[in-house]
Symmetry: C2
Subunit: 226 residues, 2 copies
DNA sequence: CCAAAAGTGTTCACCGTACACCCATGA
DNA sequence: TCATGGGTGTACGGTGAACACTTTTGG
């Protein structure tokens, strides 16, 4: 049986789940990192993650990591890619099944830098510290995946509360795409594409005209086309 | 350390690579299966795959399985998804990193049914036998992925030889999409989209006008947009 | 009344789609 | 000459892109 290669090696085999937890931090895309407390790369910042218990489902494991690190619930979580180069982790053969999650923007964590204490914090994606192991590759891949889904899915809604203004939604797109969008064209397009409807309420902030609030017509679902 | 869960369990942990090897069989999408020679699901048809040796890269392992089962070289191979439900395999905790591969159509295997002997063979995707374990899920996911890439990539070219006629390429699209396409519109679209150029040669088969041969302008690359 | 953000329509270019006939070949 | 598949163009509607002014509010 092909398992026999195990017998000729003392290299231990592990499976981990790592989660790229994205959110909107002010006017930037942000993600959550934790500081490693032990080797390898002790003291470096790393993605939330952990070894998958032998009887726990991969996605459950990722979800648990998500919950251990945030207060979010009902959050978007998607498997991203599995990283398994033999030499990516000095502890042995470590297979990391990477996920990414989207957390609604929350003014509470808009304080850039670190928002959760000395060994965990939110960082903006263009101001990341050097990451442990190959976590920079994981982050890059997650970011590409997220951006590529913008124009044929409603995934961006997962980065906002259940109700939001069109300006807020446009901000999310502009942050992710890194380019400004035309307000009128964006509104026409996104209302139709994402099936948005007005809630009737409005948001007033500052000495401005209040903005209408919108919601997804089918809340709880992420619509995809293609 | 979270590895400790290992100590409290005698369930063995394995990592496997499985490969969905697609090709064109006549006028159908086909894939390669092997008959399992041992439990679990002994005697059932299953995807080519195997346990990943402790020092072999995941993709190398998938590529090796591909080469063990076909004579193809320079073949498209892409990681698909990782399947890891705790109860998906009775041998223990088995994490299967699934890949899919595309093999150019080859008249030699156009004999439907089984083309490689009693315990390996090509099957058309709509005439699959009952598959071992959760391999039907893997196949379904691979098929969706392949089809979804048709209209923003040149991936379909990987199912044809280096030179091909536009009719052959249209056949591939129609087989995968399950719907007929307009010949004139398809040609205009695909020549521009996939950057095709005439080779100068032509293919003559039967009492018909010979068809021009085309090739990808940048051979060896799979162009993606978005 | 002023500053600041919300909200709104039209025009144009391009692209995807529908659609039918002639051409080249070997038998 | 005939059967078979190869090859080609045009008209139309819809969609993405460019573009500027009025409205509403709190201070």
């Amino acid at each position: 049986m092909a398992m026999s290669s195990e017998r000729y090696s003392q290299t231990p085999l592990f499976v981990r789940a790592e989660v790229v937890i994205f959110t909107i931090l002010g006017d930037r895309l942000g993600l959550l990192l934790g500081k490693r407390g032990r080797p390898p790369d002790r003291g470096r910042w790393a993605l939330p993650g952990g070894f998958v218990p032998i009887d726990e489902d991969l996605e459950s494991s990722a979800l648990r990591k998500l919950r251990e690190n945030t207060v979010a619930s009902g959050v978007y979580l998607e498997q991203l890619y599995t990283f398994g180069s033999p030499d990516r982790d000095p502890r042995g053969r470590v297979i990391s099944v990477a996920y990414y999650a989207l957390i609604p923007a929350d003014p509470a964590k808009q304080t850039s830098g670190h928002g959760q204490g000395r060994d965990a914090g939110w960082f903006t994606i263009d101001g990341l510290p050097e990451l442990a192991l190959d976590h920079a590759d994981i982050v890059a891949k997650a970011r590409r995946r997220l951006v590529s889904k913008l124009d044929y899915s409603t995934i961006a809604l997962q980065l906002l509360p259940k109700t939001f203004t069109l300006r807020e939604l446009q901000d999310v797109y502009e942050i992710l795409l890194g380019a400004p969008l035309d307000k009128r064209n964006f509104r026409k397009w996104v209302i139709a594409m994402a099936q948005l409807e007005e809630t009737g309420g409005e948001r007033r902030d500052g000495p401005h005209r209040p903005a209408k609030l919108y919601r997804h017509r089918f809340p709880g679902q992420v619509a995809f086309f293609r």
